[in-house]
Subunit: 110 residues, 2 copies
C-alpha cells in the first residue's frame, strides 16, 4: 500500500491542471485508450510512441491532475480512468474529448 502514489480528491481538481494534462497528444491518447478499452491498462501496454521514462512522466502528470488512478498488481503499475470523478468535476469534458471526431485527431508522430 505504501507504494500507491498520491492522488488528488475531486474537490482538488483544477481545470487549468486538467487542461495542461490533456493538451499533450500522448497524454490525450492514454486517456482515449483507457476510455475505449473500458478496462484498466498496464503502463507497458499502451500504444504510445515514447520511451518508458517519458511515458512515466506522462502518467504522473495525468495522475496528479486527477485523470487516472494508479495501483500496483505485483510489479505492474495499472491505470484506471477516473471518469466518474472527472465527470463530477467538469461535466462533459471527457465526453467532448473522446467523441468520434476528437478521437480521429492523428496520433503524434514521435
Amino acid at each position: 500500500m505504501a507504494r500507491t502514489p498520491p492522488h488528488p480528491e475531486v474537490s482538488q481538481f483544477g481545470l487549468q491542471q486538467v487542461l495542461e494534462a490533456l493538451v499533450d497528444p500522448v497524454r490525450r491518447s492514454i486517456v482515449t485508450q483507457l476510455d475505449a478499452s473500458g478496462e484498466d491498462i498496464k503502463c507497458g501496454d499502451f500504444d504510445i510512441p515514447v520511451s518508458k521514462s517519458t511515458a512515466t512522466h506522462h502518467f504522473n502528470v495525468l495522475r496528479e491532475a486527477g485523470l487516472i488512478r494508479q495501483y500496483y498488481v505485483g510489479t505492474s503499475r495499472m491505470n484506471t480512468l477516473r471518469r466518474a470523478d472527472m465527470d463530477e468535476a467538469f461535466p462533459g469534458l471527457l465526453d467532448a474529448l473522446t467523441t468520434s471526431r476528437a478521437r480521429a485527431t492523428p496520433p503524434p508522430s514521435g
Copy 2:
C-alpha cells in the same frame, strides 16, 4: 473587407490547435466572457490583465483555432464566439469549459 483577417472553416478545425488555444487562462477568459455576454465584444472591452499587444496575440491564436470570428466596425475590431461552429466540430467542448465550476477557476493574476 480586405481588412477582415482570415478564418478557418469548420472542416479545418483541429482539436490539438483548439486545446492549445484554450489551455491559456487569458484566452479561456476571453472565450468565457464572450459566452457569458451573448454579444460580440470589442477587443478593448475585455477584462483581461495583459497589455494590448499581448491581447492581440491571444485574439489571433483564438481566431486561427476557429474559436472566434473577428470583423471591423469602423476602427474597432469586434469578436464573435464561433459557438455553433465549435459545437459542430467538437460537441460539448465549449459547454464543458463554460459551466459553473469551470468558470469558477480563479482568473490569472498577471
